[in-house]
Symmetry: C2
Subunit: 122 residues, 2 copies
DNA sequence: CTAACACATGAATATATGTTCATATGTTAA
DNA sequence: TTAACATATGAACATATATTCATGTGTTAG
């Protein structure tokens, strides 16, 4: 089965054969796995879910998730390193928010799969 | 910051307040993390990437990924359990293919994030 | 039926990872 | 400056997970 040149449906609309969307090298696949690994933890996905309601400080996150402050901080560090959340200091507190729209897109795509398998829609 | 009723942009177009897309409970978040965990492994994401070119049998997968047959089989089992790939027997061989369009959507959403951070586009 | 092949699976091992505890850093109020 | 607070971080420990090896199951050719 031959791979045909298709229109890229992701972040760009290019039809170039060299578009990294269609020609994914091993390093990119590794990075991709690393990205999904970040989404693949209960605590982190709950943080992401919470931040969809708006920015929140560490204390409130740990309160909402009933988790230790240290655990939340550690996970926020990982989320930050992956470019998924962004901190903003205000006095003593550190407010975190989702970094860009991709986070919600990935989350939404995963959720659609779960709900589809669950038979909710489609 | 109040959560306002928004139009669901995922698998359905409902505006119901009870739509699981907007009211995600803890169990669903747990399932979501489990799903991303499946994407969050180099071998599995490489299998998914390979299957985007079309169905493939276990032997050819292990050949293409330079991995052991057993390792591939173990990972295929996990992908199957998550509803991401589907097997089809043909004689002695077992051909695997991506289960539905969500797999490519999740993959694409993640890839868009990687490439965006890498500065390729947007 | 039997041998050969393709794939699946269980056990074992090594590695990765999340949480906790203790402590460090940074900020503000007094 | 000092005390109190919010967050970050390092070390240690427990758990989860991916691969390998050995073997089991299923299919086909002879």
């Amino acid at each position: 089965m031959e791979k045909e040149k298709i229109e890229c449906k992701n972040c760009c609309n290019c039809t170039s054969e060299n578009c990294p969307h269609t020609n994914v090298d091993e390093n990119t696949l590794y990075d991709l796995a690393e990205l999904f690994k970040v989404f693949g933890d209960s605590t982190r996905i709950r943080i992401i879910s919470a931040l969809m309601d708006g920015e929140m400080c560490v204390y409130h996150l740990s309160e909402r998730l009933s988790a230790g402050q240290s655990a939340i901080s550690h996970q926020l560090r990982i989320l930050r390193a992956a470019g998924l959340v962004r901190p903003r200091r205000e006095g003593k507190e550190m407010y975190y928010s989702l970094d860009d729209e991709h986070v919600e897109e990935i989350y939404g795509a995963g959720l659609a799969h779960i709900l589809h398998k669950g038979g909710f829609c489609e």
